[in-house]
Subunit: 381 residues, 4 copies
């Protein structure tokens, strides 16, 4: 006998908490009062650098260049709990930013037209009429500001351990940066990245990428891209087999970022076309340490760090909100109609996602280090 | 002041439990007594079909064709708990297979040579001398037999709901199947797949893929590939934003499979090179139901199912154990030496991973359906 | 060989999240900016009654009678997220109250004297100098305001299902209420309770209890008591064996309330002195429903609800902050000295804990109902 | 508008996994093939003492004295995974015992009569006809053999740290042991306990307790009791506020043991009748260490260990299966009838629960020590 799906729709958001020991709980909506995060599991006795968190937040702040939405937000971080005398106390840290430049009129106008590849339909199926649809509510990229605040806290600890993280724009549309960077010195690369308005490393390629974005924008269209993320100075032995794999946990976090549609570690999809003799990374000895002569494994074997840089690349789809006319369904009339989306949108979301990717990497790696007992007690210092 | 990593190595495996409501706990080693799984969260009152579980297990059993290892295992499933009168009782189900054809001599011989892209080094860093290294112990692909047993239980419920799952070999090395299959009828495709020894759908392409594997094998080498997985008849509204995204949870599970190095949903990495106007899936109406005219989103938008088939592709690296001579480090002498790996290995692991991918998909999706209240009470029937 | 404890002190607070599907995350400190809670897992489409939450909060608000601390707080709840058009959206709800009447001077003065049975010593052992010690920081009873806000949200749903919860003061010091109340009509009992300033049901006993508190207060001392909590209209079949036992989960929540030192279900400790023939609750039939003729099991057998009222009693220790002179250690001089604690303290915390106990009961039971699929979809209505 | 409970009964057992870092997953049934446990999170490099586990199991084995059921089981532990060369590997350890002396005939005979205070009714409400009712299936005390095996693994580590755990019979029915034992030397007390057949410490009191049990047995009745558990040598600073409280986690584990109806820490319910000046434990200095002059807090303040012995007492109800005639409902005829339970039952379950209580204490405390980073790396030794 066959069953029917239960018609008890689950109209809840599921779990907004991520991590085992360094746990973050996300809350807030795009056009609600705030976007916030509770960070649980941060050790006591850490100098808390609010400016650093603000500087990280600024990297994804909207309205900063030609290449982003015109929404203007100060995105000034406010601490609600967990800090005392500018130090962490071991208590949960609640951080928020207030939403200010909210213009929800555009969303009202076309409430019945399902924007293609947007969440209107699935939200309706899941939450009925009750979701806060303004600015995509809980599905907005703005929610990732919470990831960035938590990531900036994680990075403060990782920085002290000389762990470096860099995500850069590897491709925009058809324009790709094929350079092979000396990943051991991420500081220099980070300086280089600042010169590009879109988070690229090679300024010539950056110019071509910018043109790609401008063209899309001029055409009322959008464009996708890829981001490469590198983490250095992770000791060997972090992670574990099966469900505790670094790849499992990083990918789980990365797909929490809206618009991500793919991830690969090291050679990734290219590895699928290689022979073992090409792909295998031979072990060698460098200054007395065991290393590999190349890094097609992306720093992770069997779910565990090898001590080589961790490298992964993600695929970001083109922004689904475009001004171009598209076909869609009017769910009131249940007829197919034209839709032309107004409102303020990023023609390419890649540059602003860069810091979010770094934040997720920082959160996952710190969580592993904490649960695996590799963070020394701050109290000892 | 900068910190040093704590020298307290965490010599534990981390978490061997996966899922929220349909939870699986994995145990066992490649050359230990058993490989097993405890499945928790299965409803009472379900006819338990042991033969079906066995038939699923047989799909990944070694020693079945020219293209796999010569290790011979019966892999006969045994039920230790949770079943009464051939029905599920609501209690945890413990399933095991016994290891029989165990030959650990090969592993002893080269204990000091770190096999390239293999876990020898990271295991040593994590567990010291204490890991069960025989047959890669806990890191062996054989551990996935537990995923298959759990997946077969999940599939029994999904089958009753007419949810279909199919994973097929999309590419081996440079040979790729570019066909666009009518994914709505997976039963026919499943029949087609049975005709190929390596889990491909197009027999002509299959022959070329087989040659690719044979060539690698003849050359003492190995080769990678990709697997495409399709899930049909999932209603819209399953999943959620950020950490509850279907993409997050599927990818977390998929990277638990040894040798996987990438995953993409729908157009995936191709989406990163597209314009929004190309990538967006226009909504339309088909027989009164809301559908999209194409499916570059892979059936998931905003982490939530759209009602279209869920489609993802994974990248599998070439088997790291190869007979070809490679350079590596002898950790006893700390010198670089040649290594030539003996033992029984799969020249290409892709065909045997197919059913594991389906199993993970089944486990994740059933977990979502259970926690979201979409599985009707079996007691009602 | 014997080991030594690692000197890596874990200076983190542990896990501030509670629940499986209805999850609450607590944050804030007694003398910090706010006390708050994030509530995750609340269904969409529920009319959100802010006044109800406020009225619940008011029940534990300080400064309301002779029997509580003189700290005056408005404890006005503010919604930061999750509500739209006065309805729940399915998103996490963040609720806060601001701390206003903060007087931390008293805590500075005796920083080096370990208050007896207070957290000064254990905080120092766990967090070194970094904890926010003001007003006991994160260990303050004020943190339970977050439980009350979350509990009030849970109660709104339970109320719609006619589930009633009542906690009342059963004893203060030696004065105990031995009455056997007709627990099936909790509404009437709730009205009765309002007449007592200290949450008792029998006004004569209440007067004696008040005297007990007044005497303790006059003597610069404090006094403990017990609270009985009753939950009615829970259907049979909720809960589960071992780790999913209703008793396990309720007790885990209840011991999260500062000052609780014991819990018993039904006859509890009295049951340990009974014969099976006395304690067993005979099954019978009432109006066609299966019931028991008495309820020494407290509505729970084998961890599962029987359909009878759930009844448990908790032991609350006397407030540890007392004005009486006590002996203690000065951790600066490492000498034993006298201590006389100043500041504003409750001579008896029992009356204010009542609503917290109800809140925990509501949270645990709603979590069970949600995860067991017993809450009907609000969308259907 | 009021709602109705969903009629979707959740016919699953809930969560059979307990712990955060030291996780145990329980499986098996009383009259099925096995009772087992998977232990996850055990460090690598620990000498695994199978005899010790067996000796712990023997303490709860049935059929050993006049005071227990006549069911005879060898309860011989078998290792399915996780051990290599008699050492732990860091992998999950699966341990089982086989069920042999199974006599299910008695259960068939009275299938329609709901045994008073037994799980027949709630099982039926939760699982319909599908539960394995034989020997109470999953609700049997026999399931706790899994807790004992896991506890014995935990104790092996705790023993190395000189942590001692002792649970003893404090009362049987009306007979109570009022002695105040010198809890600092648990080894001597453990030797003393071995002299009593029922786990008591004072042999005179033990004799009276035995008479209490014999009388109940002779009368076809049963009797309850209390167990006191002491844990010594826990350093101060373990645990945390609210949900991470040692009291929360111990009580959650303890109520997983069938027949437990109450728990209290330190003075417990007695504390509720005390003044603050009586109950508060004054801090003092002993041999340079900070201690308290008495221990009414039971070694835990604010959810955190004080360094004093952890002491708690639990209430165990009388065995519900008694031979005496009782009234109950026949669910087939829906009439009230007499029931006289046959089969093999313990007239008092207290003596056999002792080791289970110790096991739960060991599991919870080791979990805290592991997650708080207080267990030194075994690899260092």
């Amino acid at each position: 006998m066959s069953l029917l799906f239960s018609n008890c729709v689950d109209e809840k958001m599921g779990d907004n908490t991520f991590g085992k020991k360094f746990k973050i709980t996300s809350f807030g909506e795009s056009h609600g009062k705030v976007v916030g995060v509770v960070i649980d599991g941060i050790p006591a006795g850490l100098k808390f650098d609010l400016n650093y968190i603000q500087s990280e937040l600024n990297k994804r702040k909207p309205g900063q260049s030609n290449f982003t939405t015109t929404r203007k937000e100060h995105d000034k971080v406010e601490v609600l709990s967990g800090i005392f005398n500018e130090m962490t106390t071991g208590s949960p840290i609640c951080l928020i930013i207030w939403n200010k430049d909210v213009d929800s009129t555009k969303y009202e106008q076309s409430k019945n037209l399902l924007r293609p590849s947007h969440v209107d339909y699935v939200i309706r199926e899941k939450f009925g009429d009750f979701a806060d649809y303004r600015g995509s509510g809980r599905f907005s990229g703005r929610i990732t500001a919470g990831f960035v605040m938590a990531g900036a806290v994680a990075k403060q600890i990782l920085n002290k351990l000389n762990v470096s993280i860099l995500a850069y724009t590897k491709s925009i549309g058809a324009v790709e940066d094929f350079n092979d960077y000396p990943v051991e010195d991420l500081k220099a690369l980070n300086e280089q990245k600042k010169k590009s308005q879109i988070g690229a490393l090679d300024l010539d390629v950056s110019t071509k990428m910018e043109t790609e974005i401008e063209n899309a924008k001029a055409d009322n269209d959008s464009v996708g891209g890829t981001i490469c993320c590198i983490v250095t100075n992770i000791p060997p032995g972090i992670g574990g087999p099966i469900f505790n794999s670094l790849e499992s946990n990083i990918s789980k976090g990365i797909f929490s970022i809206p618009a991500v549609k793919g991830i690969e570690f090291g050679a990734g999809f290219k590895a699928s076309r290689m022979k073992g003799s090409e792909h295998n990374d031979p072990w060698t000895i460098e200054n007395g340490r065991i290393r590999t002569t190349k890094n097609d494994s992306g720093g992770i074997i069997g779910g565990i760090s090898t001590g080589m840089p961790i490298i992964f690349t993600i695929a970001v789809k083109p922004t689904s909100s475009i001004g171009k006319t598209q076909k869609t369904v009017n769910i009131k009339t249940m007829k197919v109609e034209d839709i032309k989306i107004e409102g303020r949108h990023d023609p390419c979301i890649v540059p602003r996602i860069s810091v979010v990717v770094e934040s997720i990497a920082a959160i996952v790696i710190l969580d592993h280090l904490l649960i695996e007992g590799r963070i020394p007690s701050v109290l000892e210092y």
